[in-house]
Symmetry: C2
Subunit: 242 residues, 2 copies
């Protein structure tokens, strides 16, 4: 049997939001590469897929740097890429798990650019965090005739303002540590009634804030925090029918 590398998007966090293709594949892998967890526990990506792994799967936890910049990080990515290449060339079915979708804001791309065309590979797409947030909050990402921008709050305030002015719908990722400033910008643009904030969507620790003008600007947020804006939809609390 020929070896192959599979980059697997795990979806946003809940184990049952991975695809059927990913679940079937995880059962028959030889090796799975996963980010190293903190304090000896599983990383989130590994904890999502663990229930689907076949008994034969060897888990190899590796430290994956979050960015490719700097010589040291380049060397680390080179080493992981070389390990993967050798595994595949020796005929193994090799998986690599990555949160959300594999091709959107994922460190998988640092391996793709090193290995593309050199070994057989397949990318398994996943549900993005913002699709999950939109579903959980019942707040549409974008409707027909609208355009959608997905930007990180690490961008300049000018870039965020431009996106918020020019698109009807905006996903603001990485709100973590920047909530007060982003909330003020939304207020200045009159967009607070059309914005909501969600943290850790689909996990037991999920939190949703719909009246952002009432939220403390110093609010301490988890790392996975995202604001959705839709100019044609109101974020007012939905009366839950139980």
């Amino acid at each position: 049997m020929k070896g192959c590398l599979y980059a697997i998007g795990t979806g946003p966090g809940s184990s049952d939001l991975i695809t059927v293709r990913a679940a079937r594949l995880l059962a028959r892998l030889d090796v799975l590469y996963a980010p190293a967890g903190k304090r000896g526990g599983d990383s989130l990506a590994l904890s999502i897929v663990r229930e689907y792994l076949g008994a034969q799967v060897e888990i190899r936890e590796r430290h994956f740097p979050m960015s490719t910049h700097g010589d040291e990080k380049e060397t680390l990515w080179d080493q992981v890429a070389e390990e993967l290449r050798q595994d595949v060339e020796s005929g193994l079915q090799v998986g690599f798990v990555t949160l959300g979708d594999a091709m959107l804001f994922s460190t998988w791309v640092f391996l793709l650019e090193r290995l593309q065309g050199r070994i057989p590979m397949e990318v398994i797409p996943g549900v993005t965090s913002f699709a999950c947030i939109s579903a959980r909050a019942q707040f549409p990402l974008a409707m027909e005739q609208q355009s959608l921008a997905i930007v990180s709050c690490t961008a300049s305030e000018a870039a965020l303002e431009q996106a918020l002015r020019q698109h009807e719908c905006v996903v603001l990722m990485k709100v973590y540590g920047r909530f007060g400033r982003v909330r003020d910008l939304l207020g200045r643009l009159g967009l607070l009634p059309h914005a909501l904030l969600m943290a850790e969507a689909s996990l037991p620790t999920e939190q949703c804030f719909r009246q952002l003008h009432e939220v403390d600007g110093e609010l301490s947020l988890p790392y996975f925090s995202t604001i959705l804006v839709n100019k044609q939809w109101l974020a007012a609390p939905v009366e839950e029918v139980a």
Copy 2:
């Protein structure tokens, strides 16, 4: 047992790209609403989920208008919403399938705005068409520090140009019937080396074009045709390692 409405994103087309949550749910529904297919066959959404349906599931095919505009269409949506509401209130587990993700460019939103807060409901997110295209083509949607815009080619040329100038990555949906003009715009902006076109991703009829300057502007495309642009990535053909 209490009734509930489930809006289920089916993903882009291949049956195994639905989520595990959707697959499990489809097995235990009482009723599934699906778009009516053409010429008596299944609609694409129904064909994707059919293998997961429990034997007890009653399929109700309905004609869903593609837009909510016009009195006649409003009336049609009102009727479907009323049917769903009555089913749920009578205690049924009711599904509604929609291609891709349920909250992005989906007609599900016309039902959501009519039923939100009135009946128990849950939205199951799905893999978007563009995540699947990106995975199939091994062409990243966006890398860290990049921003991504998702726009329809039905927008004005000025709006498309603005998105292409201001974002490092752009998904151009609904290329169908507009390929020549969009290709010319990409050429004028120097983006052809960074763009690829895919039609019917994940289906047996999938087609991918990577050298858009060589493609006939009058190319006849299927309805589901999308162009991806990533200014940091080259779309040149990948040497496939078999």
